[in-house]
Amino acid sequence: ITEGNPKWEKKDLTYSIENYTPDLAKEDVDNAIRKAFKVWSDVSPLTFTKISQGEADIKISFNYGDHNDNSPFDGPNGILAHAFQPGPHIGGDAHFDEDENWTKDHRNYNLYRVAAHEFGHSLGLGHSSDIGALMFPSYAFSDPNDIQLSQDDIDGIQAIYGPSDNVIQPTGPTTPQACDRKLTFDAATTFRGEKMFFKDRFYLRKSPYDSEAEVNFISLFWPSLPHGIEAAHEVAEKDIVRFFKGNKYWVIRGLDVLPGYPKNIHNTFGFPKTVQKIDAAFSDEYTGKTYFFVQNKYWRYDEQRRSMDADFPKLITNDFPGIGSKVDAVFSDNEFIYFFRGTRQYKFEPQKKRVVAVLKSNSWFNC
């Protein structure tokens, strides 16, 4: 919340678009601005009405360089926009740098995304240090059609204006914290000597050279991957990582998602149609086998022959005793297999077929 807790004393606010960027059609600008206000009206008692006559509470304009508000823009990139806290005259107004290229899609910079952030300031919010929040100061783009406020954004706006008038109060996602004792993972994999864990829209990355985990959006590395990856595994020999969601998979090498993906898991790996998702997967670099965990069974795929081994699937409990009948995530590292289920992690020694340690899921993050 902005220092001094500035706020609008009324719930029904007006806005006006003072001028239009030539980068987009007029109706696209109108649409982006309307949607950006809706992001906030959906979670608060506020309403926003566009007016074309009289002085609006929130005036929106596109400006080049010095535009006489003591905060000149800096040309392309850098500062994209700014907005003023609630108040009379310039208060609440949002200015967009006309030196940027404004878009309605994934290209830099998506007007809807930036406007939704700026209107947070217009309503009295400051910047959030939560990387998953809309009010985080850096531009991070994900889905052009779906801006999801985080719980941090919702808590902020409702602290100023109270809860939404909706019977069912809106909620938003929270950003995973490496040292959260309740942290669980959707997927995990080794990646060029590092470990990567996946949760919702985020990855948590643990490098051997850094004692702390890095948390950021999956889209930062791989913009075309979906949220909520369900399984991932590295084939180190091929320098690739496969990501799975539903019956589709993607292959990445470094920062590149290889062309031609997503593909269907049934065609490539030979899963029967009854398998609709993979829970977890890892590759054994010594044998060239990849293990897929699906419900209470596992399958084994030969990376050289490119086919599923015979006599599979088998029951997880028979060959991996002690880890339970279902897993969330798994990877192999230094001759041990690490299975994750809920907040627990099982360090498994495959030679002796036994669990040698039960750890917290976030034990890799030096909490």
Binding site: T2, E3, G4, N70, S71, F73, N77, G78, I79, L80, A81, H82, A83, F84, Q85, N108, Y109, V114, H117, E118, H121, G126, H127, S129, I131, P137, S138, Y139, D210, E212, V215
Partner: protein, 82 residues
């Protein structure tokens, strides 16, 4: 200013401008070269690194510079927008 030896002059300017704009670093009295640990730049840098979830070193390391070069909103992270 205990900058990494390889930090370029241009990067130092980016750091100073960024901290002035977004972390309320006062230009007056700030000298780029100050004895280690006593510079207001270091304190502001630590504040910025903590805010962005970076390793808090007080030095303009690569990760910090990377964040500073990202496109962003012009409203400061600390103090009011005047």
């Amino acid at each position: 200013f205990p900058a990494h030896l390889e930090t370029k002059q241009q990067d130092l300017e980016i750091v100073q401008n960024y901290l002035e704009k977004f972390y309320d670093l006062k230009t007056e009295g700030v000298r780029i070269a100050k004895k280690k640990g006593s510079s207001p730049v270091v304190e502001k840098l630590k504040k910025m690194q903590k805010f962005f979830g970076l390793k808090v070193t007080g030095k303009p390391d690569d990760e910090t510079l990377k964040v500073m070069k990202q496109p962003r909103c012009g409203v400061p992270d600390v103090s009011q927008f005047a």
